[in-house]
């Protein structure tokens, strides 16, 4: 089985910015988690967000999804400030919610219908239905979410995120629980969307193979800041290193900070 390598986007051909995060500070009560994060994602770009456990990756994604109000800083999605133009910003956003937060008493189809209706869609998009088919999820659409396995819930969360042609797709550990075949389907689907300039992807992950083979850029979140970034050229160079190129580079960056 061959794996298609990314059509890496350089800074020259990168499209318009779909996400701009500036000096973001956020936390919970007295605990400061994010301490001045700066981040950009462009259309046609896949940015992988790396970082050790409890480094604030999910907190950052929750801020971008409007689920957590930052204490300072700004977030804009497709030029719409999340704080002042929340609805316009969220219209451009596809966020993969945590699988465990999906409602047990609804069916997968009902979840998709609610999301589609809330996004103002007349029908569920053909490519999302095709992805559901490739996931072997179509047969489970009428089962209760409460009866789904972790992987099946993850598939539903991803399908919800991709509904309505979002310009910015934000996913948190989206490959957790997915079987290898479904994970490959998802990687290729996301890559094709990115390559077709349909969206930008921000993926928080620990899966370094995804970063090496599919991402255009990678950023390391450490101590509440972006401590290190890898450009597409650097990632390509690490790919060329036999063995554990990115793994070693990541460990070195963590140790250095």
């Amino acid at each position: 089985m061959s794996i298609s390598l990314p059509d890496t986007a350089t800074s020259d051909d990168a499209g318009s910015q779909v996400l701009l995060v500036r000096s973001l500070h956020a936390g919970y009560d007295k605990l400061v988690v994010l301490n001045g994060v700066d981040l950009e994602v462009s259309r046609g770009e896949w940015l992988a967000l790396l970082g050790p456990n409890a480094s604030g990756k999910t907190t950052l994604l929750h801020c971008i999804a409007g689920m957590l109000v930052p204490s300072a800083g700004s977030i804009s999605i497709c030029g719409h400030a999340l704080r002042r133009q929340a609805l316009a910003a969220k219209r451009a956003l596809g966020f993969g919610c945590a699988p465990e937060s999906l409602p047990d008493l609804l069916t997968g189809r009902q979840c998709l219908e609610i999301y589609a209706a809330a996004k103002g869609l007349a029908a569920i998009g053909g490519d999302v239905l095709a992805l559901a088919e490739e996931f072997a999820f179509s047969g489970m659409l009428d089962g209760f979410v409460g009866s789904y396995s972790l992987g099946t819930k993850q598939k539903l969360a991803v399908l919800l995120a991709l509904l309505g042609e979002p310009v910015l797709v934000v996913l948190d550990e989206a490959f957790n629980g997915l079987d290898p075949a479904s994970a490959l389907v998802l990687k290729r689907h996301l890559r094709s969307r990115v390559s077709a300039q349909r969206c930008g992807v921000l993926l928080a992950t620990h899966a370094l193979d995804v970063v090496e083979r599919y991402s255009d850029r990678a950023a390391l979140l450490l101590n509440g800041r972006i401590a290190r970034e890898w450009s597409s050229e650097e990632l390509a160079a690490l790919r060329a290193v036999p063995g554990e190129g990115l793994e070693v580079a990541l460990a070195a960056a963590c140790a250095g900070s």
Partner: protein
């Protein structure tokens, strides 16, 4: 999907969940609804309910003040919960306004409807007259409206409901146990029992014994009845907790080689000890007033309850073990 549902995904999601619960878990849903109807019916036909509602109808100003206080606190609490739920829900990232106000208002209207329905039932069985029912209903509705507005502002001022989660916080031990044992497991059902009998759950339960007391009972008797009811409720909560925790703990420990006897013992001994202590103290206090009845009626009842509680905990633990295959090999017992 109708347009209003599409515009309010939180409401449509809840509506669909209720519809699904009715469609696919009909027996359980109908049973729950029937239990609520029976509970409201029982409260309505209790002898003191009519006179109390009648008095509240005559003294509508008192009713209004009580309603304002109650609905103000309820609104503040509901607003905080709804805000947290809105921010963390699976629908949080959608481009739709989540109306916390509407959600809170629906909850308040639902509660008001239950109170008015209860009063209507009491009026229907002839325990109060029409004018008392009307005055009571209007005073409560007006109080609910004022309470809704007041509670909304109260939350904004930061005097809202207490914390979102109820949890018992313990100081961590300085050192690890040198010989690990199952004894910490005994804390689980005890802690779960305390969660079940927390003030928020105990307060509505107190309503029944208080309503069942004859009008004009002395204050010290009312206090004694309230205290005894709370103690008995905590004992009952411990029994329920032991049964529930048995299944959770067995599932958690299923991959280990803990024996069934050891598991059952660890799960039940602290619960039983606490129940015995509470019931003994209660009996001792009762003997100071009603010695004969405490010994002839109270003591056998307490012993009987303890036997039933122990049997329930053991049976639950054994069923839980069997279900997940815990201790099937007999090793580690």
């Amino acid at each position: 999907m109708p347009r209003w549902m599409a515009a309010h995904p939180h409401l449509s999601s809840r509506l669909l969940a209720w519809t699904n619960a009715y469609r696919y878990r009909r027996g359980r849903t109908v049973l729950a609804a029937a239990l609520i109807v029976v509970a409201v019916g029982v409260v309505a036909v209790l002898p003191p309910t009519g006179p109390i509602l009648g008095w509240l109808g005559e003294n509508w100003a008192v009713t209004f003040v009580l309603a304002v206080s109650s609905f103000t606190l309820s609104t503040a609490r509901r607003r905080q919960h709804a805000s947290i739920a809105a921010a963390t829900s699976w629908l949080a990232s959608l481009p739709a306004r989540h109306s916390v106000w509407m959600q809170v208002a629906i909850g308040i209207v639902r509660r008001l409807a239950v109170v008015v329905a209860l009063a209507a039932l009491v009026w229907a069985i002839g325990a109060i007259d029409r004018s008392d029912f009307s005055r009571f209903s209007f005073a409560t509705a007006a109080g609910a409206a004022v309470g809704l507005l007041g509670g909304w502002r109260l939350q904004r001022a930061g005097i809202g409901a207490p914390g979102y989660h109820y949890a018992i916080v313990r100081r961590p031990r300085a050192r690890w146990a040198s010989a690990p044992s199952l004894s910490p497991l005994t804390n689980w059902p005890a802690a779960q029992g305390r969660v079940f009998s927390r003030p928020k759950k105990t307060a509505p339960m107190l309503l029944l014994p208080m309503l069942a007391m004859p009008m004009g009972s002395p204050g010290q008797v009312a206090l004694a009845v309230a205290a005894a009811s709370m103690a008995l409720f905590s004992v009952f909560s411990l029994s329920v907790a032991a049964v529930r925790v048995a299944f959770d703990a067995a599932r958690w420990l299923a991959p280990t080689t803990v024996g069934r006897l050891r598991f059952t013992g660890a799960l039940t001994w602290r619960v039983m000890l606490t129940q015995i202590l509470v019931l003994v103290v209660l009996l001792l206090l009762t003997t100071t007033v009603y010695r004969r009845r405490a010994l002839t009626v109270g003591a056998p009842l307490a012993v009987g309850y303890l036997c039933v509680s122990l049997a329930a905990a053991i049976v639950a633990a054994l069923i839980a073990c069997r279900r997940v295959g815990l201790g099937a090999s007999g090793r580690g017992a």
